[in-house]
Amino acid sequence: MVLMHLANRLSRIFLTLGIFFLLGILWEIAAKVFKIPTPILPPISDVLKYLIHSYKILLPDVFITLYRALLGLGLGTVFGLLLGFALGYSNYFYNSLYPLLIALYSIPKQALVPLIVLWTSFGTVPAVITALLTSFFPVVVNTTTGIMTLDPDLVALARIYGATKWRLFVKIAIPHSMPYFFAALKVAGVGALVGATLSEMIGAQTGVGHKVLMASVKFQTLELFSYVILIGLVSVLLYWLLTAVDRHIVWWAYRWRERL
């Protein structure tokens, strides 16, 4: 049983590697056979060579961006979770704040970047705030939705047993909203990286966003693609991490999957 599981896992890993390898070969062939000039699409072998050769120059900016995104994500999650609980707990909060929240939710937060840059400063502060804003909203909305979609029968049953509003909230509503929260956290993680990089494109001298845009304008595609690959790796790792946390904490929400 364990062995079969392991074999299954191994074959999946090989499949994954194979797909990426195939994609790399296709890229290489496309660039070489059609003789696409390097300033448009450099062959992947050149990009990887550049990446390995000058990772010491590339990595610091990746870490700066990661730091900004994570700080924003952390703050956005804490605020989002607290507000989500408040909205779920109190009808008064919900009725008065939720429409406003939806209105704010539907503005692309990315559009506020120039304003944030003007109001605060250059560099880290606007990037963190943008990351905070992009991660805050999915968390609030999903946490609230999680509480709003409670099974009425469950609530009624707990009421019959004499549960107070507070106990209902802590014992039923919060656990029920957790899968929604963690689903939002995964979206928020990706969103935080988008927010941070975008803010760097408009108002920063460091970070992947700034470097990528500069590289594109200067037709330095080796640098451009290296940064895109690195930030892609970072975001995949972040996503995996959040998925693992999700599976560990709200494993019970995935029970039904075993039957598929």
């Binding site: 539907s106 990315q110 109001w119 979609t149 099974d151 009425p152």
Partner: protein, 253 residues
Amino acid sequence: MKKTVGLLYALITIIIVLASWEAFVRLGHIREQILPGPTVIARTLWSARIPLLRHSLVTLMRTSIGFTLGVVVGVVLGVVLVYWSWLNEALQPLLTALYCLPKSVVVPIFLLWTGLGTTPAILTAISLAFFPILTNIIAGLLSIHSDFVDLLRLSGARKGQILWKVGIPNTLPYLFAAFKTAGPNALVGVIVSEMIAASNGLGYVIVFSGAVFNIPLMFAGIACLMLIGITLYGVAAFFEKRYAHWAFRGARV
């Protein structure tokens, strides 16, 4: 009755927010270049209505094209991946990687390949809009009740027929739920691309007015954007309520 009360609450909140904003700006003597009050923004909206309308229409056009293409790509890919499940297994890591990649860093690549303007905006919108559609289509198709499938199979239905007769209807609520994310996502894609790689559209207006310190114009641009965003969300939510209202059972603590 309940609906009117909710609407009233929303209206009161918005009025209070706007009024306190105006009071804050007036009483605090805050300059327009830092934070314009709602009346100043309204005046700017009116005086710049023609260019703002033009840029809004450009953004709306790009968003709708990007959204539509994103839905097509998402639905087709979703059906294909469910029909040939080995393909799903094989492509899953690649799709996850694509999903995770911050789309903002892809805009410079689109810019490099296709130049300024509409093409990178639409490409960015597609890349953001098709993911929620894809995941929800797959979730919808996989959540078909197995008894249904067994019944149809017993009656001699082919795989394609089952997909068409049960799969698609079962998927509709999921699809409409996905519209609620995909619409705003398409708008985000367009705006991000316009901020970096365009010379028209609302994203460009916002960045440009920031660069020349015309903050009231920037707020007017954001207001237009908000209007488009709310409209998109509202249209999607309307369709969702119509076709998937059973998901909201209205339980309250």
